[in-house]
Symmetry: C2
């Protein structure tokens, strides 16, 4: 397993030089997040992830979680690592100060989240789900609910889950069967079985707070009849501690392709006591308020696994001696040249680097919007919400699809050794493979983007972003070194408007045109957006080089990677455009029985 | 796990209707391979694979192989299945009649091999390696060696291996360290350690015949100093039976991502008795004679896993109820519509179908060339050899890369359930993932194609195929329904000539241009070639429909899939072309230390 080192230099490039987190922290009133504080947190976070979490990654995969009669034991060392995580105040970092949190910006939490996910994706699931549950309680809970649950969760003594999926429905939550029956004391009896519940049962915390979607007896059919309930494993007693055991039990854990140290549970609710959160029948809305966070978090997993894979591949490519450079031996004294001399190995490494660093820029930009949603300035808030609505499904789907490509390339760089478990490269592929599936499959993200967001707003949500790209291109059109790439980006940006309009027209006649175009449309947008961020990074890099400061190699590397991205990856948009333009005709011709004979 | 059903209808479409195997069997003197015989073999093969091998696939993955002090035990049922395989005469099918084989055409062996690989990839490794070893002994062994080894191997009593890789070299065999010291009796003492030896040790056969690359004491450096040796686990005694144990031991087995029921062994040779096969220092040449077989066989694994994945996905997509069709409920009486109504699910299924059926056409065509290499007509032989040289690296790399895409799509169709081991879909991804790596990584295949084959022959080996495409396009240019696709294909075919010429010119100045273009070049060729076969299939399908015979739905399905391929997959060539044209500049800019900071 490659030793993980947090890519602090690249993180600081984005935080300090490209996006100016400090300026926006000051503007948004996050006065505690001083540059010194941010730096100290990044370095402490790196140390914790490198020294505590990364060493448990391989062993956690090999050992997995154990299930025994309702009790789930996490792999050796995970419980202790989680205790350190809680003690270190990492759960509290971006949490509400009213309940013991440090109230630091979400964007900083996301950067730490990247380190955690790169060091140990499975571990990251436990705090990740807890943060999700905290966000839902924070947004929709009563004051009493917040007091009861958020305080111990912020301390890391209690953890949380999101219980949505049932065996017959994942995407289609309108048809869930879990029932909530009102009781006289105002609580509800929750009965039903939920599956795929990450962190649903484990040995890390004193209590587990399940957020459960269920239907009231008189609920309307479909998604408008779903309510959200807090169902703790142990009912809080008068002093706020975990008290009597509730009617919640783990029926089994899943045997999965990867993230094996993350317990994926079947959870049975058998007349369990639940407490309504938010309004009756508005449960799905309550969930949606935290979707942006959760989906960006899932998108991050593509970057996290990709970064870990890149670190392994680059080290191996520098050390592994095999064949001679096509232009003649570079290390004639060695039995062969290191494989990093070969253009095709470099193609793989640069593809990884270009996706990772591009995805990191996209993610950090989006995280900044998550901060901006809390701005005191309403127009800023609205602007951020619009951009988030457009970018979130792209972050989720594009970052995970490209992350999967990256981890597969990292494995490929290792040749046969990549297939052997002890090297750790294939684990990154397996761990990453869930990210395009859960939290709404990438196909669902694409429908959300094209159908609900872009066409649903008559293009307005797209224009919020493409106008920004347009303005940037206008400003840089005469850039002495970058003008050709600016023109390329501007052309793709214009095309996106035309493409969108054509799909919109076609969809009015035939709604299937949306589903026929959606995934290619999302991928087109993703490549375009990464192009935008690569150019923004290149502009910064060039101006730093012009200034003649330190670190010229870092900025030169950015420029070379931008060139690689524009010449070798961005042209993939042409294939996606052609697929979009093919429309739904060839997709809908066959009856279900005509697919195979 | 989806139950595997051999796709006999599609196989027969290619065998009978597109490629006319029967005509070429007759022309090549394979008189035993009558249509009735071929049919009977296909049906028996299907039965064996569906009923014996497929049921062991999941259990084999879960159990894996066991290693205990040099002894390897295969998963429950594998030994018995192999006995049935041998008894059924499957090892003998395409083997030399002089040593007990049935002498049927290799192309028929490949079709049966497809069924085996789809039913149980791990199982297929044992006979696959044995066939490889048999081919090497058959081509380069003395009569006595053939008599000694081929007979028990044809019976399936002995199995074989290929021992090439060492821990410090896989691609770069010139630097192997295993040594062969001549003994007075004409044998050699073999010492060294080989890794990644598939079927290197197991409990299925009475003896294991290792073919080992090693260096003689006075061998020249590099690949011109490698010799090939037969090193049996048990030395044959006077009666030809397995006798005294040789100095060969299994040191351990690898823990891998997939193909877990295939024992991947470290094999230690400690002064083991070996017998030279072929000439001294010509070992790599001996290996190369069987490369075409082995690489096509590896390419098949992409199709095999892809076919199994498609069968699972199509069944699931017809049964899984989730959401309503965008155009309104199709099954209003059910709680939701089956997901096959959704255009994006169809996009995934059709991508799988188009790759699988296109890859099958490419593979069967190539298998026919393997038969033709034994033609009595020398010009036919030469033609086949040229086409094989060009197509083999494409089969290996394109079929495995697209196969990996197919298995990942199949998993995606299952949503969260795809990530759960019991459904079997993720196993297909893991099993398939080795195919782009071993038998020469896909990057090495691409260098072989572009550098050694195409540019090394001044384009001649490419022209052998592109002329065929050109002629076909000329003949079909006025086809009433297909002319637009014919024009698209003809354009890509012309472009390939131009692209090749430009790379050739650039490479004269800078050899790195070959490595910079190679993978995208191979993928461009792969898409083009599948386009050619899809058009050939479409032409046949249309003429069958015109004839008005039976099975119109089958032919309509072919036409719709061809349309899908041409409009949604073939345009990917544009992205590969752009990447090729980007050249090596952005790849070679960074020093090794400038990839990460």
């Amino acid at each position: 397993m490659p030793a993980y080192k947090a890519p602090l230099r690249d993180m600081r490039f984005l935080i300090d030089e490209v996006f100016d987190f400090h300026g926006s922290y000051a503007a948004n009133g996050a006065h505690d997040a001083t540059p010194d504080m941010v730096n100290a947190i990044l370095e402490e976070g790196a140390k914790f992830c490198e020294q505590v979490l990364a060493p448990l990654n391989r062993s956690g995969d090999e050992e997995g979680c154990h299930f025994d009669n309702g009790v789930v034991t996490t792999p050796k060392g995970f419980k202790e690592a989680f205790a350190q995580y809680a003690e270190g105040g990492w759960m509290a970092l971006a949490s509400d100060p009213a309940y013991g949190g440090q109230g630091l910006p979400h964007s900083l939490g996301l950067v730490i989240g990247e380190m955690i996910g790169s060091a140990n994706t499975s571990f990251g699931m436990y705090p990740g789900l807890t943060h999700g549950a905290m966000a839902a309680i924070g947004a929709h809970g009563t004051d009493a609910q917040k007091q009861t649950y958020l305080s111990p969760m912020t301390e890391g003594r209690w953890t949380g889950t999101m219980c949505l999926t049932e065996s017959h429905c994942g995407t289609d939550l309108g048809i869930i069967k879990t029932r909530a029956t009102p009781r006289e004391d105002g609580s509800y009896a929750i009965s039903g079985t939920k599956i795929f519940i990450s962190a649903g049962e484990h040995d890390m915390s004193e209590n587990i707070v399940h957020l459960v979607l269920a239907k009231l007896p008189d609920a309307p059919a479909g998604t408008k009849g779903i309510s959200l309930f807090i169902v703790p494993k142990f009912l809080p007693d008068a002093s706020g501690e975990a008290g009597a055991r509730n009617g919640v039990a783990c029926g089994s854990i899943e045997h999965k392709m990867g993230i094996k140290a993350s317990a994926t549970c079947v959870i049975n609710f058998d007349g369990a006591t639940g407490f309504l959160i938010g309004e009756p029948n508005k449960g799905l809305n309550c969930m949606f308020t935290m979707m942006n966070h959760a989906r960006l978090g899932t998108g991050m997993q593509g970057l996290c696994s990709g970064e870990a894979s890149f670190q392994g591949a680059i080290q191996y490519a520098k050390e592994r001696l095999q064949m001679r450079a096509l232009t003649g031996a570079k290390f004639p004294d060695k039995p062969a040249d290191p494989i990093i001399v070969h253009p095709d190995v470099r193609r793989m490494l640069l593809t990884m680097k270009a996706f990772n660093e591009g995805n990191r820029a996209l993610a950090y930009y989006t995280a900044q919007l998550l901060d901006q949603v809390h701005s005191p300035d309403e127009s800023k808030r609205k602007e951020a919400e619009g951009l988030l609505a457009f970018l979130t499904p792209i972050c989720k789907a594009f970052m995970t699809d490209s992350g999967l490509e990256v981890t597969n390339l990292g494995m490929q760089v290792f040749g046969g050794h990549g297939y052997i478990r002890e090297w750790g490269m294939e684990q990154l592929v397996r761990d990453c493979r869930i990210a395009p599936i859960y939290e709404g499959t990438n196909g669902i993200q694409a429908l959300d983007l094209l159908g609900r967001k872009v066409l649903g707003s008559q293009g307005k949500l797209m224009l919020g972003f493409t106008k920004q790209v347009h303005k940037f291109c206008e400003a840089q059109v005469q850039h002495p070194q970058l003008h050709a790439y600016v023109a390329q980006l501007a052309g793709l940006n214009r095309d996106l408007g035309d493409i969108t309009q054509r799909i919109g027209m076609a969809a009015m006649k035939n709604p299937d045109e949306v589903g026929a175009a959606s995934v290619d449309y999302l991928m087109y947008c993703g490549y375009l957006i990464l192009g935008y961020f690569w150019l923004r990074m290149a502009v910064v890099a060039l101006s730093k080089l012009d200034e003649g400061g330190s670190d010229p190699a870092f900025y030169q590397s950015k420029l070379a990677t931008a060139e690689f991205y524009f010449t070798r990856l961005l042209p993939r948009t042409s294939a996606h455009k052609a697929a979009i333009e093919a429309g739904s005709a060839s997709l809908m011709k066959l009856s279900a029985d005509e697919f195979a004979f």
